[in-house]
C-alpha cells in the first residue's frame, strides 16, 4: 500500500496541523516540535482547536458509526483546502486511506475523499514537500529507529523517517533485528490480547536493547508508549522520543 507514486505539491504558505489524541494528551512536546519544524521552513501552521481524534480506535474495533461521528468532526474542522500534516503514520493512514471507506455511501463521502487527498504524515511532508535540510547541533549519539507498521506499510514513509535521521551528522543509526515486525501495540489489541502483546513488545524491546542504542526514536506515539513503557518497566535506561522532538532538539540551537 506504500505510495511510491504520490505526487507532491509545491511548498505551501500555510498548513493545518492535526496533533492526534495521543500527542495531545501524552506527548504534547512532540506536537510542538513538529509545528516548529514546519514553521522554521517558512510555512505558517494552523492548529484548529476543534480537532480531537481521527476515529481510528473505534474503526479498528468494528464500531463504525461511532468512528464516523468522530471523523465527521474532523471533516468540519479541516475545511479549508490546506495540507493536513499528521505526526503519526497510524492516524495519517486512517485519514488518508480509511476515511473514504468509512464514509462510503454517506452524505459526507465527497468531503472525506477530498480531505484524504491532502493528508500527509509529518516526515513525509518534511522530506517530500518541504525538502528540509537539517544541521545536527547535538552531541554524538547512537539511535535505534522503530518505524510503525502504518508508517511503513500503509503510508509508505519508512524511507522518509530514515532520510531525516541520516541528515544528522552526529547520529549513528543502528538497525534492530526484525525491524519490520510489529511491536505488539495494535491499539485495543494490547488490551484484548495482553499475553500476545506482552511477548511481542518484549521481543521488540530486546532487539532494540541489543543494538546498544542510547535512544529510541519513532514516528508513532502508540509504539513509543508500548516499547518505552516496557523498557521502563524493565528498568532499562534507554531514552525514547517522538521523531519530531528528536529532530527539533538536535537542530534548533539556543535561541
Amino acid at each position: 500500500m506504500s505510495e511510491k507514486t504520490r505526487e507532491y505539491p509545491e511548498t505551501p504558505g500555510r498548513v493545518y496541523f492535526f496533533g492526534t489524541c495521543l500527542i495531545d494528551l501524552f506527548y504534547p512536546e512532540a506536537g510542538l516540535a513538529g509545528i516548529e519544524l514546519i514553521r522554521r521552513e517558512g510555512v505558517e501552521v494552523v492548529f484548529p482547536q476543534g480537532q480531537t481524534c481521527c476515529g481510528q480506535p473505534a474503526w479498528n474495533s468494528g464500531y463504525r458509526d461511532q468512528a464516523r461521528q468522530v471523523a465527521r468532526a474532523q471533516l468540519d474542522c479541516f475545511q479549508d483546502p490546506l495540507a493536513v500534516v499528521v505526526p503519526s503514520g497510524s492516524c495519517a493512514g486512517m485519514m488518508r486511506h480509511h476515511y473514504p471507506q468509512l464514509f462510503q455511501g454517506d452524505a459526507d463521502q465527497a468531503r472525506a475523499i477530498e480531505l484524504s487527498g491532502r493528508v500527509f504524515e509529518l516526515t513525509e511532508f518534511l522530506v517530500q514537500v518541504l525538502h528540509i535540510q537539517l544541521q545536527d547541533l547535538g552531541p554524538p549519539t547512537r539511535v535505534a529507529l522503530h518505524t510503525s507498521c502504518a508508517a511503513r506499510r500503509e503510508m509508505g514513509v519508512a524511507s522518509d523517517h530514515l532520510q531525516l535521521l541520516q541528515q544528522l551528522g552526529n547520529v549513528e543509526l543502528v538497525e534492530p533485528e526484525r525491524k519490520e515486525e510489529c511491536c505488539g501495540f495494535g491499539g485495543t489489541f494490547a488490551i484484548k490480547h495482553p499475553d500476545i502483546s506482552a511477548v511481542m513488545v518484549h521481543d521488540k524491546a530486546a532487539a532494540i536493547r541489543d543494538t546498544g542504542a542510547e535512544q529510541l526514536v519513532s514516528g508513532d506515539c502508540g509504539c513509543l508508549m508500548n516499547i518505552h513503557g516496557h523498557l521502563q518497566h524493565q528498568g532499562a535506561g534507554l531514552a525514547a522520543e517522538h521523531i519530531a522532538s528528536f529532530l527539533w532538539e538536535r537542530t534548533h540551537g539556543a535561541d
Binding site: G31, C149, E154, G186, I196, M225
Partner: protein, 471 residues
C-alpha cells in the same frame, strides 16, 4: 462449539508458555521469510506477478458459476466423475460411498486441507476405514493424533528431536535416529508398502482448470503422485473456489504460489491429472473422482468485499509473516486454517458466533496483506469482520452481532460523544491533565509489563491556545 475469548486465551497461554513451541515457530518462520525473499529478489517484478495473480484469481471468481459448470463438463468428458457437496457431511458421505462401492477399508492420503476441513479421517475411521497420511509432516502428526499447525508445513511445531522421539515411540523396531535424512528414509520405507496396498488414494487440488478439465497438484515429496497414480481409485477433494479459467493461468499462479510458500523456483513434483487410465496405458487409476465442496463458500462469493477471501491459493505466506501466528502457532486458533487467512476465512464459514474472536487476534500490522501473492486485503477484511461481529445491522456473515457486548458498545458511544464535541473534549482533557496526580499507576494488563503512560500537565490544545493568546 464456539471458541470463547477465554478459551482462545488459554490456548494462547499454553503456546506462549512452551519455549519449545515458540522457538520452533520462530526459527521455522524466519527461514520461510528468508526463502521467500530470495525467491523474489526484484520487488518490482514481484509486484507485477502479484498483480497478475490477483487478477487471474479475481476474474475466475467473478465467473465462478460458469467456470464450475465448464469444469464439470470438461472433467466428465475426460472421464473424471464429478460430485457436488454443499456441506462437509455431504462430502464425507460421497467419499464413503465411493469407498464402500469398492469394498475398500484403507485409504492413502496426500496432503489436503479440505479433507481436514471435512474431518474426513475421523469420519472414515468411524466407518471402519483406515486413513493413512502420506505427506511426511501429516504422517508425523497423525502418529500423535494432532492437527496440522501450518497449512504447508503441518508438523512445523515439532523439531527433529521431537520427531525422533515420536518415531522411537511408534516404531520401536527401527533403530533410533535424529538425523533428518534417515528419519525421512524410515518414513519412506514404511509408506512405500502402504502405497502399494491401498485400494484408494485421496488428494487435494491446487488449481482446477475449467477449459481443459485438468486437476493440478503441487507437491515436493512425490507422495501426491503416488496417491494419485498407484491405487486403482483416486478421489480428489477441493473447494469450489479453486477453479481457474484457462491452462495459461496456471504458470503465473504456480510461480507465485511456490515462491511465496517455500521460496523454491518450482516444486519437485507438479501433477496435472486429466483423466483416469485410458485403454492401452500402463499405469494410473482406473477411476478418478472430483468432489467439489461448497461449505459456505458460495455465501462468501456473494459479498463484493469478502469474495476476495476466496482468492487464496494456500501458500501460507501470511502466517509465516504474521507476528501473532509466529508467537502462538497454529493450534491456538483451533480452526482448520490458522493465521491471518484463517482468521478471515474460518469465521465466515463457521460463523462469527463460533469464531468471532479470531478477527480480533491481529494488530492489523499489515504484514499479511503486504506479502499475499494474490493481494487479498486481509487487514481490511479483518476490520470488516470485527464490524460484522459487533454490528447491530444483520450482516451477510453468519453470527453477525454475536460479539457485541453492551458495556463495550456503551464505552464506544461515550467515547464517540466526547470526541465529536470539541469543547467537551477540551474540558475533559484539561480536567484529566489537572487531576493527573490522582490517576492510577496500574491499569489492567497494560502495566503488567509496562509502566503507565503519564498524562502531560498541559495538552497540545492548551499549549497552542496559550501561544495564540500571547501573540
Amino acid at each position: 462449539m464456539a471458541l470463547t475469548k477465554a478459551e482462545f486465551g488459554q490456548g494462547v497461554r499454553s503456546a506462549l508458555d512452551d519455549p519449545q513451541i515458540r522457538q520452533n515457530f520462530r526459527s521455522a518462520m524466519d527461514g520461510l521469510i528468508r526463502k521467500r525473499l530470495s525467491a523474489f529478489p526484484d520487488p518490482d517484478k514481484l509486484e507485477r506477478l502479484r498483480l497478475e495473480a490477483a487478477e487471474i484469481r479475481a476474474k475466475a471468481l467473478s465467473r465462478l458459476p460458469d467456470l464450475l459448470q465448464q469444469l464439470e463438463h470438461n472433467c466428465t468428458r475426460n472421464g473424471i466423475q464429478v460430485h457436488w457437496a454443499e456441506t462437509v457431511e455431504e462430502a464425507n458421505q460421497i467419499v464413503l460411498g465411493i469407498m464402500q462401492r469398492h469394498g475398500a477399508t484403507r485409504m492413502i492420503k496426500g496432503k489436503s486441507m479440505v479433507s481436514e476441513e471435512m474431518g474426513l479421517n475421523h469420519f472414515l475411521e468411524q466407518h471402519g476405514i483406515e486413513c493413512l497420511e502420506s505427506d511426511l509432516g501429516e504422517f508425523i502428526i497423525q502418529l500423535v493424533g494432532e492437527a496440522p499447525s501450518h497449512i504447508i508445513a503441518p508438523a512445523i511445531h515439532k523439531n527433529r528431536f521431537q520427531v525422533a522421539e515420536i518415531f522411537r515411540d511408534k516404531f520401536p523396531d527401527i533403530p533410533y535416529t535424529d538425523d533428518i535424512e534417515q528419519l525421512t528414509r524410515n518414513a519412506r520405507e514404511i509408506l512405500r508398502r502402504k502405497f502399494h496396498d491401498a485400494p484408494v488414494g485421496l488428494s487435494g487440488v491446487n488449481f482446477a482448470v475449467a477449459e481443459t478439465g485438468t486437476l493440478c497438484l503441487v507437491e515436493n515429496e512425490g507422495n501426491g503422485r503416488m496417491c494419485t497414480t498407484i491405487p486403482p481409485v483416486h478421489i480428489a477433494v477441493t473447494g469450489i473456489e479453486k477453479v481457474v479459467e484457462r491452462l495459461s493461468d496456471v504458470p503465473p499462479l504456480l510461480d507465485i504460489l511456490v515462491g511465496s510458500a517455500t521460496g523454491q523456483p518450482i516444486t519437485t513434483y507438479f501433477n496435472m491429472i486429466s483423466s483416469p487410465r485410458r485403454p492401452g496405458e500402463q499405469d494410473g487409476p482406473e477411476e478418478v473422482h472430483l468432489v467439489l465442496l461448497d461449505n459456505g463458500r458460495s455465501r462468501i462469493y456473494q459479498d463484493e468485499e469478502l469474495i476476495a477471501t476466496l482468492r487464496c491459493i494456500r501458500c501460507g505466506a501470511c502466517m509465516n509473516h504474521c507476528p501473532v501466528y509466529t508467537r502462538i502457532g497454529g493450534h491456538a486458533y483451533t480452526s482448520t486454517i490458522p493465521g491471518p487467512i484463517g482468521s478471515i476465512l474460518e469465521p465466515q464459514k463457521k460463523g462469527l458466533d463460533q469464531l468471532g474472536v479470531l478477527p480480533t487476534a491481529s494488530t492489523l500490522c499489515g504484514a499479511c496483506g503486504a506479502v499475499c501473492p494474490v493481494r487479498i486485503p486481509i487487514p481490511q477484511l479483518l476490520n470488516r469482520l470485527r464490524f460484522e461481529g459487533v454490528s447491530k445491522q444483520s450482516g451477510k456473515v453468519p453470527g453477525a452481532g454475536s460479539q457485541r457486548k453492551r458495556s463495550e458498545a456503551a464505552a464506544w458511544a461515550l467515547w464517540s460523544w466526547v470526541h465529536s464535541h470539541p469543547a467537551l473534549y477540551r474540558l475533559a482533557t484539561s480536567m484529566a491533565g489537572r487531576l493527573r496526580g490522582l490517576l492510577p499507576n496500574r491499569i489492567g494488563a497494560w502495566t503488567r509489563v509496562r509502566t503507565a503512560p503519564r498524562l502531560a500537565a498541559r495538552s497540545l490544545h492548551q499549549l497552542m491556545a496559550r501561544e495564540q493568546k500571547r501573540s
